[in-house]
Subunit: 95 residues, 2 copies
């Protein structure tokens, strides 16, 4: 079939933006992602957790200058999933 299923984890605006960012950066913290995506904190928190539970993100919580600091990086699984998603959705986009 010409319309392959789209990974429901990645087929969400914010989660896709987060993964897209991390594909290039390899590491980013909560506040940085917040600014780049324009998301609300609540939504970002939930979606980072979702990505983590899907095994797409590795999340490391530390403190930086006395404040909590949440660092995210893509896992190999996350990279692979993103590549698969890109390949799949491109079939929908070409006219």
């Amino acid at each position: 079939m010409s319309f392959a299923p789209l990974d429901p984890i990645l087929h969400n605006q914010l989660r896709l933006a987060v993964v897209s960012l991390l594909v290039s950066l390899e590491e980013a913290d909560f506040t940085f992602i917040l600014e780049k995506t324009g998301a609300t904190r609540g939504n970002l928190s939930v979606q980072i957790t979702n990505l983590q539970e899907a095994g797409y993100l590795k999340v490391t919580k530390t403190f930086k200058d006395n404040y909590p600091n949440t660092k995210c990086q893509l896992t190999a699984k996350g990279v692979k999933a993103f590549e698969g998603y890109v390949k799949a959705i491109k079939e929908y986009l070409k006219t």
Copy 2:
């Protein structure tokens, strides 16, 4: 911002598939779309209605060989929305 909002009407697998099909074909009927997308009838019915209500699709119901026949074609608004969606999501996809 680098992550422009994605049109929620089009950011759905089945609706995107339907519109993607119609961009090339200019006209297709319910059964044809059903086969090409692999959707269930119920879901396709709902999503065609959604696309119609969004003004993206013109739907014409007639009879063909005694059976009901539902023809769909993209409107100018639908074409424009699809082009916008493609442009927007491509920003998410480039690594």
